[in-house]
């Protein structure tokens, strides 16, 4: 048995940690988050040059062929730095779908450009009335000769305002929630009839609501087989769910450390507040929640590596755990920081807000627990 990271993973972790420490302090992060794109194009280019965008890309596609464990190594460090660069959107979601389903031409045109940091992409996996069900696709694509007409609305499209390329699941056959009958389209952002409303998200990232009004695309835009897009969509969203769970573990670790540190320095009634047992126990609970989450994350990443078939159990378990633990750690960190914890100025509130967003992204704790309970034993 070996639960340690290998040499390559340790080096990767170390280089991201150094980057965050040297080039991505909280003030810099805030500057990037407040910019029109919500991230730094220069930093993103650096990510590509350092090879970080290629870690989870298959070797056949010019990447390093990393798996779920490598993904968690990257995301936990990005979480610690509260990094707003569009890794999840471009690499885990968009490139995740393209790797699995795109043909060679699409890969050379889109996937390579994404990994090189030259193309911004978004996977539009949320619909306004779908809740967390990614199979609930009501955006339609209807065939007319060798062209398709798309109509519908996608909600909370991560990185949507920056995207040059949208990957859009649309219904081409079947009923509303059928997995069969979903087709993936790669759509240029400047097509006629495509309306993008870009906005900031509560966690300092950016997203968009996208409307397709009779958008006409050709057969060549279809990624994978017609009607058979769901499997690639599901796998990419599973990876992304694992990714934000790893990010959350990084965030919870930082919040626990910062809370302990603050309690040692904050003096009230003539003593540091860390000397109060009522607070000590609560910080122990934060620490416990963090470590239990880290352990479960390791299991989930390994389960997804070896046994893709068991990924549903792994994903539902870890996202439930993170949903519950993240809320608890975030709220406690703010509370123990007192008034300072609710200010914009301090990083604690921004870590808390990102944890809150992660609690919703890809499904709430209740939603995942419900699905977990429904799996055959």
């Amino acid at each position: 048995m070996d639960l340690s990271l290998n040499e390559t993973q340790l080096m990767l972790a170390d280089s991201i940690e150094k980057f965050v420490a040297n080039d991505y302090d909280f003030e810099t992060r805030q500057k990037y988050a407040d910019s029109p794109t919500g991230f730094s194009p220069e930093v993103w280019k650096t990510f590509a040059e350092l090879g970080w965008t290629a870690v989870t890309i298959g070797e056949d596609d010019g990447g390093f062929g990393g798996g779920p464990v490598d993904l968690t190594v990257v995301m936990e460090r990005l979480g610690r730095g509260l990094v707003v660069e569009p890794f999840l959107s471009n690499i885990v979601l968009a490139a995740g779908v393209l790797q699995r389903a795109a043909d060679e031409k699409q890969k050379s045109e889109w996937l390579n450009a994404i990994v090189a940091g030259d193309l911004q992409a978004s996977l539009a996996f949320v619909e306004p009335s779908a809740g967390y069900e990614i199979n609930d696709v009501t955006t339609t694509a209807s065939r007319d000769g060798d062209a398709w007409t798309l109509s519908g609305t996608k909600a909370y499209v991560l990185n949507g305002g920056n995207a040059d390329l949208f990957i859009v699941p649309a219904r081409t056959a079947g009923k509303r929630r059928d997995e069969n009958g979903i087709t993936l389209f790669g759509i240029d952002a400047d097509l006629q009839g495509l309306k993008v409303r870009d906005y900031a998200s509560i966690d300092g990232q950016r997203a968009a609501e996208i409307n397709f009004e009779q958008v006409i695309v050709s057969d060549a835009q279809i990624i994978g087989d017609t009607d058979k897009g769901f499997s690639a969509l599901q796998s990419a969203v599973d990876d992304a769910t694992l990714a934000v769970c790893a990010e959350a573990v990084g965030i919870m670790t930082v919040l626990t450390e910062k809370t302990i540190e603050y309690s040692r320095n904050r003096v009230q009634f003539g003593v540091p507040i860390s000397s109060f047992q009522a607070l000590q126990h609560r910080m122990v609970e934060m620490y416990t929640a963090c470590e239990q989450s880290r352990s479960l994350l390791m299991w989930a990443a390994m389960a997804m590596t070896s046994e893709r078939a068991d990924s549903a159990r792994a994903i539902h378990s870890i996202k439930y755990q993170i949903g519950v633990a993240g809320k608890r750690v975030g709220e406690e960190a703010v509370q123990i920081h007192g008034g300072m914890g609710v200010t914009w100025e301090l990083d604690v509130a921004h870590y808390f807000k990102r944890l809150t967003a992660i609690g919703i992204l890809f499904g709430s704790a209740d939603w995942h627990l419900d699905r977990l309970a429904a799996l055959p034993g």
């Binding site: 009335s129 809740g131 909600a155 998200s201 509560i202 009230q268 008034g339 609710v342 914009w344 919703i360």
Partner: protein, 400 residues
């Protein structure tokens, strides 16, 4: 035991309801329903409307221009106010400094300050907390040194709500450092915000709103006539104030409104999705919050009943703040959950009058749910954090 209202009380309820439906500025209720922040002018305007109706100070005795309402009437009023989704009275004048002035101030102070509070001609803010004195308020360091017929004030206050709009600030200041107990050197001072040497610096909260401030005092000269009561008794007055408004602190009426609104929303199909009401897991959580709320409401009613019969509030009243704020945060979290992905857009530009519906992201207050969840983290921190409340209960109620 009987909790039904008398005919007079029912008539009073109808009267209050009619006020909010007819005489209260309806554009302000509209803003409330759209979660649009109220301007200074809005706040002044509706307080004046309440004053016009004779309700400038629901909690004051009649001799100072208050309503002289019974505790039951106050309860009914708060309930109707929340039901109309009307804003709560800004507490600093009418609930905080007003009662201190009529309880401990001299006649000149009563004549000078009370009418303007009643009519909302002056906007008050509260200068208690300091950077180093939060939960441990008695460690405050802002000094007021006597110089002839003036105090010279130096120091800083923080978390001062809406100081950017305030005309006056009431402060706890240290007038004597040479005392056995720190509390004994603290005095209660009224300071005109236009006095030279005062500067206000904004603090932005995690939801992006400028709600609180730092207030700095640099050799600010305050006439000694602005000292309320006796020098060195400020701490005692402050404590009396805390006990003054025990009820209301639980926020029962507001929570009741928020929860019933959430329950109503669960029955509606949003954007063609199935109504949340069909989600048993979520409805169980709403039901659990409703049980909590009912318990809280009856704890508050027990307190009201004992005050109404002329007795002091029972020890159960001590749990109102902790239980009330925890419930409020629980309801906020449920609203956030109900909104799902639509809790995530940070679209403050939508919260203006006449924002075009076609461009609006989310329905109702979906996108506002996250902001309220974030902003209300403060309720378990301010006014004596819940940790401090529990210490007080342990010591004074349980005798530990």
């Amino acid at each position: 035991m009987n909790v039904s209202f008398t005919d007079e009380e029912l008539a009073f309820r109808a009267e209050v309801r009619s006020f909010f439906e007819n005489d209260f500025p309806q554009d302000i209720l509209e803003k409330q329903n759209l979660s649009i922040p109220l301007s200074r002018d809005d706040t002044v305007r509706w307080h004046k409307a309440a004053f016009q109706r004779g309700w400038g100070a629901p909690n004051w005795p009649q001799e100072y221009g208050g309503t002289g309402w019974s505790t039951v009437q106050k309860y009914i009023f708060a309930d109707e106010q929340a039901r109309a989704n009307a804003p709560a009275y800004l507490p600093f004048g009418v609930s905080m400094v007003g009662p201190i002035i009529y309880s401990f101030g001299n006649d000149a102070q009563k004549q000078r300050f009370l009418p303007d509070i009643l009519e909302f001609n002056t906007w008050w803010c509260q200068g208690y907390s300091e950077t180093g004195a939060g939960s441990d308020l008695a460690s405050l360091k802002t000094r007021a040194d006597l110089d002839g017929d003036h105090f010279v004030v130096n120091g800083s206050k923080t978390w001062t709500t809406l100081a950017q709009y305030a005309d006056w600030i009431f402060c706890l200041v240290r007038t004597n450092s040479d005392v056995a107990r720190r509390q004994e050197g603290i005095s209660f001072l009224l300071i005109d915000m236009n006095t030279p040497g005062i500067s206000v610096k904004p603090i932005v909260l995690l939801d992006g709103e400028h709600e609180v401030n730092e207030v700095h005092f640099d050799n600010v000269r305050v006439p000694t006539e602005n000292l309320v009561g006796e020098e060195g008794k400020g701490w005692t007055y402050g404590k009396v104030l805390l006990q003054h408004e025990r009820t209301g602190i639980a926020g029962v009426a507001g929570s009741k409104y928020a929860l019933s609104r959430l329950r109503t929303q669960t029955g509606t199909a949003v954007r063609g999705a199935e109504p949340l009401a069909s989600n048993r897991i979520f409805m169980r959580k709403i039901a659990a919050a409703e049980v909590e709320l009912k318990a809280l409401e009856y704890t508050e009613l027990r307190t009201l009943a004992s005050v109404a019969s002329g007795k002091a509030p029972g020890p159960e009243s001590s749990i109102l703040k902790v239980a009330g704020t925890e419930l409020r945060q629980q309801i906020d979290a449920l609203c956030l959950e109900a909104a799902g992905y639509y809790a995530l857009p940070y679209v403050r530009d939508q919260y203006v009058v006449d924002f075009p519906d076609a461009d609006r992201i989310g329905e109702g207050d979906e996108t506002h749910s996250s902001l309220r969840y974030f902003n209300d983290r403060k309720v378990s921190i301010f006014g004596g954090s819940n940790e401090i409340q529990k210490n007080i209960i342990a010591k004074h109620v349980l005798g530990l």
